[in-house]
C-alpha cells in the first residue's frame, strides 16, 4: 500500500511538473508573441530565431518558471527597450488616440443614425 502511495505521489509530481511546464510554454508563447523582435522587420520574438529573440525567449521562460507575473516581465522589457517592443500598445498618453478615435466614431456614427432612424411603436 505504501509503495502504491509513493508511486502515485511520484506520478503526481511528474504530471504536475509536465502540466506546469505546459502552462509555462503556453505563457511563454503568449508573451513572446506580443514582443517585437527588434532586429527583424515586423516579426514577433516568438516568430523569430535571431539571437536577440532567442535570448528574450529564454529570459521569459526563466522568469515564468521563477513565478514572475506577466506584468512584471512586460514592464521589465519596456524599461530596457521602450514601448516599441510591445505589440499590444499599453494604455498610455501615447496610445490614447488609438483607442479614442474608434470610440469617437462609434459615438458620432450612433448620433447620425439616431437622427436618421425613426423608431415606430
Amino acid at each position: 500500500m505504501k509503495i502504491f502511495k509513493l508511486v502515485f505521489l511520484i506520478l503526481f509530481l511528474i504530471i504536475g511538473q509536465t502540466l506546469a511546464n505546459e502552462e509555462i510554454e503556453k505563457k511563454t508563447a503568449q508573451i513572446t508573441k506580443n514582443l517585437r523582435c527588434l532586429v527583424c522587420q515586423g516579426q514577433s520574438v516568438y516568430d523569430s530565431n535571431s539571437d536577440f529573440a532567442e535570448d528574450i525567449k529564454l529570459y521569459v521562460r526563466e522568469e515564468l518558471t521563477k513565478g514572475a507575473s506577466e506584468k512584471k516581465i512586460y514592464s521589465y522589457m519596456v524599461s530596457k527597450y521602450g514601448d516599441w517592443i510591445l505589440f499590444n500598445p499599453p494604455l498610455s498618453y501615447k496610445s490614447i488616440f488609438l483607442w479614442l478615435i474608434p470610440f469617437l466614431f462609434i459615438l458620432f456614427g450612433a448620433i447620425i443614425i439616431y437622427r436618421k432612424v425613426k423608431i415606430e411603436k
Binding site: D83, F87, L98
Partner: protein, 620 residues
C-alpha cells in the same frame, strides 16, 4: 535602342492623353474618347514590351538587370516585369487605362454625357501617373555598359502565387479608379441617381471581386509558400489592401439603396471617393518606406514625396468637386428602424467602424514617428477592438435581409429570429462543452456566426430562394462571410503551435502528438542545394510524414525554407524549419496544427462566388 523605342511608346501615350483633354475642352467628345483609347493602347503596348524585355533577358534595361536572371524559369522572368516598383507602376497605369477603355466600349450606347466625363477623369488619372512614371520611376531606364547577367530575383518571389497575386490585387483596387471617375462625372452632370447606380454596379463589383481574390491569394501565399504558419497578420501592407475592400463593400451596399430607392446619394459619392483614396493611400504606404513590415518593399522616400503629391491632388480635387456639386438628396425624412434602408445604414456603420480601426491602427505609428516616438500596433489591438462588433454585425446580417424597403416589419419576424437564436445558442454551447473549451469570446463568435448561417438557410427554405439566381449572390457571400468568421474562431482557439529543437532520431511529444526526426537528405538542383528533413508525425491514430526543407540558392546567395503540409479533412499539419545550428547537429523547427483552416478558404471562396454570381445575374 530598345529603351528608346519603349520611351517613345510612353511618350505617345502621354501626348495622346493631352490631346484627349484638348478635344474634351473643345467639345469634340468622340475625338476625346478616341485619343484616350489610343493613349491606353500605347500604355498596353509598352507594358507588353517590358514583359518582352524580361522574357528575352535584356539586361540593358535597368529593371531587368536588377530583377532578373537568365537562369530563371520563363514564368518567373515574365512575372519579374511586375515584381518591382517601376514595372508594377506601369501595370497600375495600364489597368487604369484598361478599365477606361472597357468602359468606353461597353457603355457606348447609353448616356453619352456620363461617358465623356468619366473618360475625362479616367484619362487624367492615367496622365498624372504616366508623368510620375516617366519622370521618377521609368521601367525603361537603361544601364550602361550593358551587363552580361542580371542580379537575379529573390527566390522567395519565385513562386506561382507571385505571378498572380499582384495582378489580381491591382485589377481590384486600381479598378476603383473607374468608380471614382464615374462618381465625379455623375456629380458634375447631376445624374447621380438609381440609373447611375445600375450602370456603375458591375464596375464596382468586378473591382471588388478581383480585390477579394487578390487578398485571398495573398493569404494563401503566406500560408502555403512563405511558411508563416498563418493567413493574416494585421501587417500594415495587408491592412492597406483591406482598407479599400471595406470601403468598397460599404459602397456596394449603399448603392443598393441608391439603385432601389434613390437614397443616399451624397453618401455614395463620398464612399466612392474614399474607396479609391484608400487604394491610393495603400499605394503610397507600401512604397514610401514609412511602414515597418515583413512585406518590406524597396523603400525610397524620394519617390514617396511624388506619390504623396499625386495622391493629394487626386483626392483633393475629388473632394472639392464633391463639395461644389453635392447632389440633392431626395428627402430628409427619417427612415423606419426595421426596414432595409436602416439596416443598410447599420451595415455601413459597422463596416466603416472596422475601416476606421484599421486605418488608425496602421497610420498611428507613422504619425507618432514624426514626434520621434512610436508604439507597435499588433494583432491583439485589432482582435480586441473588432471582436465585439463582429458579433453584433453578424447578428444584424442575419436580420437585415429579412427587412423590406420602406416598411417596418420586425414584429412578424420576431418568432423566426427567436427560434434561430435559440438554435444557435444550443449548437454553440454544444461545441463549447464537447470541446471543453469554456471561452466566452469563442462562444460569442460561434454563436453569432452559426446564427447567421442558420438564418440564411432558413430564409432560403422559407422563401424558396435556393438557387434562385436573384438571391444567390447575397446568400453565397453572406454565408461565406459567416463561415469565414466561424472558421477563424475555431482556428484561433483550437490550433496548436510549437517551436522546438530536435536532433536526428529524436522524438518530441506534446498533447496527443509525437514528432520524430528520422533523417536528413541532401540534394542539389539546378540553382540550389537542398537539405530535406524527414519527419514522422503521430496524432492519435494517424501517422504521416512531413518533409520540410531548407534551400540555399546560388544566385543570389539566399536561403529559403520550404514548408511541408499534410491536410486532413478539416485541418493541416504543418512543419517549417527555422534554422540549422551552427554545428549542424540540431534543427530549429516550428510545427503547427492548423485547425479548420479549410473553412477559412471555403468561406473566402463562397464570398468570391457570391460576387461572381452577382455579375452573371446582371446579364441574365
Amino acid at each position: 535602342m530598345a529603351s528608346n523605342f519603349a520611351n517613345i511608346l510612353l511618350f505617345i501615350a502621354i501626348i495622346s492623353s493631352f490631346v484627349s483633354n484638348f478635344f474634351f475642352f473643345n467639345k469634340k467628345t468622340e475625338a476625346s474618347i478616341r485619343s484616350f483609347r489610343i493613349s491606353g493602347l500605347f500604355v498596353i503596348l509598352s507594358f507588353f514590351l517590358l514583359i518582352y524585355f524580361f522574357y528575352t533577358s535584356n539586361f540593358s534595361i535597368a529593371a531587368v538587370y536588377e530583377n532578373s536572371h537568365s537562369l530563371k524559369p520563363t514564368m518567373y522572368k515574365v512575372a519579374g516585369a511586375w515584381g518591382n516598383h517601376e514595372g508594377s507602376l506601369l501595370l497600375f497605369v495600364m489597368i487604369v487605362s484598361l478599365y477606361g477603355i472597357a468602359f468606353s466600349f461597353l457603355n457606348k450606347k447609353n448616356n453619352f454625357n456620363l461617358t465623356k466625363w468619366t473618360i475625362f477623369f479616367q484619362n487624367n488619372i492615367v496622365l498624372i501617373f504616366l508623368i510620375y512614371l516617366v519622370t521618377t520611376s521609368n521601367p525603361f531606364d537603361m544601364i550602361v555598359p550593358h551587363p552580361r547577367e542580371g542580379l537575379g530575383l529573390n527566390p522567395i518571389l519565385q513562386d506561382p502565387l507571385l505571378v498572380i497575386h499582384p495582378p489580381f490585387l491591382y485589377l481590384g483596387y486600381v479598378g476603383f479608379s473607374l468608380t471614382l471617375s464615374l462618381v465625379l462625372a455623375s456629380l458634375i452632370i447631376k445624374s447621380l441617381n438609381s440609373e447611375w447606380a445600375q450602370l456603375t454596379w458591375p464596375w464596382v463589383l468586378s473591382s471588388w471581386v478581383f480585390l477579394t481574390i487578390g487578398i485571398g491569394l495573398g493569404s494563401i501565399w503566406a500560408y502555403y509558400e512563405l511558411g508563416w504558419g498563418g493567413y493574416w497578420f494585421w501587417d500594415p501592407v495587408e491592412n492597406s489592401s483591406l482598407m479599400p475592400w471595406l470601403a468598397s463593400t460599404a459602397l456596394l451596399h449603399t448603392m443598393l439603396s441608391l439603385k432601389v430607392k434613390n437614397l443616399m446619394k451624397s453618401w455614395t459619392a463620398l464612399l466612392a471617393i474614399l474607396t479609391f483614396s484608400f487604394s491610393l493611400l495603400g499605394t503610397f504606404l507600401v512604397r514610401s518606406g514609412v511602414l515597418n513590415s515583413v512585406h518590406a518593399f524597396a523603400n525610397d522616400p524620394e519617390r514617396g514625396i511624388f506619390i504623396l503629391t499625386i495622391i493629394f491632388i487626386i483626392t483633393f480635387v475629388s473632394f472639392v468637386i464633391f463639395v461644389f456639386y453635392k447632389p440633392n438628396d431626395i428627402s430628409n425624412n427619417q427612415i423606419a428602424l426595421f426596414s432595409k434602408e436602416s439596416f443598410l445604414l447599420f451595415n455601413n456603420y459597422f463596416l466603416l467602424f472596422f475601416l476606421t480601426v484599421i486605418v488608425i491602427g496602421t497610420i498611428y505609428p507613422i504619425i507618432l514617428s514624426i514626434f520621434n516616438e512610436t508604439i507597435s500596433v499588433g494583432p491583439s489591438f485589432y482582435n480586441t477592438i473588432l471582436a465585439p462588433f463582429i458579433f453584433i454585425f453578424l447578428i444584424l446580417m442575419g436580420i437585415g435581409p429579412m427587412m423590406k424597403w420602406s416598411k417596418n416589419i420586425l414584429l412578424s419576424q420576431k418568432k423566426i429570429i427567436f427560434y434561430t437564436i435559440a438554435g444557435s445558442l444550443i449548437l454553440s454551447a454544444a461545441i463549447i462543452f464537447l470541446a471543453n473549451k469554456k471561452n466566452l469570446i469563442l462562444f460569442l463568435g460561434l454563436l453569432s456566426s452559426i446564427y447567421l448561417m442558420i438564418s440564411i438557410l432558413i430564409e432560403n427554405i422559407k422563401n424558396r430562394e435556393f438557387f434562385k439566381l436573384y438571391y444567390l449572390p447575397k446568400n453565397l457571400a453572406h454565408f461565406g462571410f459567416a463561415l469565414l468568421i466561424f472558421s477563424i474562431f475555431l482556428n484561433s482557439h483550437f490550433s496548436l503551435s510549437k517551436n522546438f529543437e530536435i536532433k536526428d532520431k529524436e522524438t518530441i511529444k506534446f498533447n496527443d502528438i509525437s514528432i520524430k526526426l528520422n533523417n536528413r537528405q541532401l540534394k542539389q538542383e539546378s540553382n540550389f542545394y537542398e537539405m530535406i528533413a524527414n519527419f514522422e508525425v503521430k496524432k492519435s491514430n494517424f501517422i504521416f510524414n512531413l518533409n520540410p526543407s531548407v534551400r540555399k540558392f546560388f544566385q543570389p546567395n539566399q536561403i529559403t525554407s520550404e514548408t511541408s503540409i499534410v491536410s486532413r479533412m478539416f485541418s493541416d499539419h504543418y512543419i517549417v524549419v527555422n534554422f540549422q545550428d551552427r554545428k549542424s547537429d540540431v534543427l530549429g523547427v516550428r510545427y503547427y496544427f492548423n485547425y479548420f483552416i479549410y473553412g477559412i478558404w471555403l468561406g473566402l471562396l463562397l464570398i468570391i462566388l457570391g460576387g461572381l454570381f452577382s455579375a452573371i445575374k446582371k446579364r441574365a
